[in-house]
């Protein structure tokens, strides 16, 4: 019973509080009049909210479709008996050890149009005045790429651990049946580690959807609002503009989307469970 109370307090009370706040007006952090679903209906009418929702989806899905295959590729390579494997493992995991703020600062320096190394290299090639993060057409793509660089070691480690549990006899049997390397991956490896892949996908989706620091430090939501995700709105409304009710309403939408994503993955996982 005490443990249940602790779990309830830690997990459910903040959610209850966020829902409650989102149904009221607030003045700074003080709850004011009850307004029902007004904050939510306002969101539906707000074109900027819908744009932020779309940007969040692009950011999360874009990062996911890059991070998972890259993580898998490196895991497969590291699972082979190659020379300097321990060194490669160490090097490949380095981006994961950096905080989002450090990663953002590092890449902002690399892409700095005034003194960054990319500017220097392009200058050597005769290309001048190229802007990256300032370009509304490229800003989100660059954020996705930086996020992928920072995150791929996480699935890599999980996949590598899962790959080491696949019985070698299965590969042997596949080889005798005439399976190629890619067929062996599709028919043996992937089904065997499917649950790890799906759990990793769930964790990463939640992480990408809830990400603020990297985006805030790199672009602050700009240029022209092209990288303003839902969580950036929550952050700005909650901590800069002190519109806590509005922030809570967007936060609840993010929370519901996270639940929908998680349930979808779990459903797919259950349907496809082979082992």
């Amino acid at each position: 019973m005490p443990s249940l109370a602790i779990v309830f307090t830690i997990s459910f009370y903040p959610i209850y509080y966020a829902v409650d706040i989102s149904l009221h007006e607030t003045r700074f952090l003080q709850k004011q009049a009850f307004v029902g679903l007004e904050q939510y209906t306002r969101l539906i009418r707000d074109s900027e909210f819908l744009r932020a929702l779309l940007i969040s989806l692009k950011y999360a899905i874009g990062s996911l479709v890059l991070t998972l295959p890259i993580g898998m590729l490196f895991a497969l390579l590291l699972n082979r008996p190659i020379r300097f494997r321990a060194a490669f493992r160490t090097i490949l995991i380095i981006p994961w050890t950096l905080s989002q703020a450090v990663t953002a600062s590092l890449w902002m320096w690399i892409f700095n149009p005034s003194y960054g190394p990319v500017k220097y290299l392009l200058g050597q090639l005769g290309v001048s005045q190229v802007v990256f993060v300032s370009n509304p057409d490229w800003a989100l793509t660059i954020l996705v790429l930086v996020n992928t660089w920072m995150t791929y070691p996480f699935p890599m480690v999980l996949f590598l651990a899962a790959l080491q549990t696949v019985p070698l006899e299965l590969y042997e049997a596949a080889r005798i049946d005439g399976c190629s390397a890619s067929a062996s991956f599709r028919r043996v490896t992937l089904p065997y580690i499917r649950s790890t892949v799906m759990s990793t996908a769930i964790m990463l989706t939640l992480q990408f959807f809830n990400m603020v620091t990297l985006i805030y430090v790199m672009t602050g939501g700009g240029p022209l609002g092209t990288t303003e995700t839902l969580t950036m709105r929550v952050f700005l409304d909650g901590f800069f503009n002190f519109r806590v009710a509005a922030a809570a309403a967007v936060g609840m939408v993010v929370f519901l989307l996270n639940i929908v994503f998680s349930l979808s993955y779990i459903r797919v996982l259950r349907q496809a469970e082979l082992y």
Binding site: P113, S114, S128, G221, P223, L224, N241
Partner: protein, 420 residues
Amino acid sequence: MWLIRTVLCGLAILSLVVPATVRAETEIVYWDFFKPGDGSPRGNALAENLKRFQAKYPDISVKVEVLRFAEVESKLIQGSAAGSTPDVARVYSYALPLHISAESIQPLDRFAEKMDKSDWLLPWNSTVFAGKKFALPAEHRFFTLLYRKDLLEKAGVKVPTTWDEMCQAAGKINSPQVMGYAFGVSQASAAYYLLEWAENMIITAGGQLFDEKGRANVNNAAGRKFFQVIADLAGKCKASGQAVVQFTYNEIHEGLKTGTIAMAGLGTHRYQTIRAEGAGENLHWAPPPSFEKGKQAPVNVIGWNLVMGKYAKHPEAAWKFMEFMASPETQVITARAGETPSRKSAYKDPWFQTSEAKVMREWSEYIIKNGRSGRYPTGWLEFGQILAQGAQAVVLKGVASGKAWDDVVERYNKSLEGKK
């Protein structure tokens, strides 16, 4: 005999216990963003001043809690909502109205009455809101023109004094390697750079950003003029590049340091640091350009202020600390660490006659002559986000300056109506 011995022993014990009880310390909590004695000039100056305070008031101890400066607003407001604030905190000029509105700080009138109201570079009323004194300015800074003398000389241009001259001069210097005039319209870092530039440009153009109710002024010719300067710098004169969309305070700081930026507006507080970090004698300052030849531009003087938390546990002791930290003697020590004093009498110290202090003396004179104090609405930071998008539209999309400015005003005023 036994009785005398007992009484003497009792007195001896009391003599040990009583002073400790009488000298029971009052502990006040102070929020700063420098760790005392952290090795940085300002951290070391804080440590020295705390030591001096301790010597003067041995019965008051100061517990310094170090926060990142971006955290102060939210933590102070959260603390106030929970009924717990520090006794004293440092709050930036922009955030004063926010804290007054959130009731996270308290008026100082009952303490400050006896203070010398004439010994300040800015009028005493600069931190008076609705008739109540809320803060003591701890230091001053203003947005000025910093330039690389070596780059200007190489291009054969003089330091511009008007925005028209700036457009021409910076256009002459601008190349793929060096940006002629840099500014920042990024939304990152709360768009602080742009906000600081904007508030100064609007008053230089003879306008006012907000009305008394905190709404952005519509039909603001000064605002349109400001956006026209951005359009000209980025477009007509080719004095700046699209990279300005990515620039915040830090990118401009780095650019001036490394010599990839020739001129930029920046706070005076960065001047010594950029010099020390590598620009050296190549970096100089000049008054910010104006719109009229021969007329100096007014500047909004900003900086860190000492405030008393709403739930200060020891207001009397807190006031003694505030008074001490804002005293001319203390400000001389912080001036040596790079903070421009807010007290006039601090400048009477012999240190200000040294060549090291020359620049600070010049700034104090500029403040006395052209300094003003801004009035910021509680939605100042939100205005910054909207303003940044408007300025980005001018730079990236070539949107007409008038239309872009009017959109900013409309969006901001609309944002005030909704979302609570």
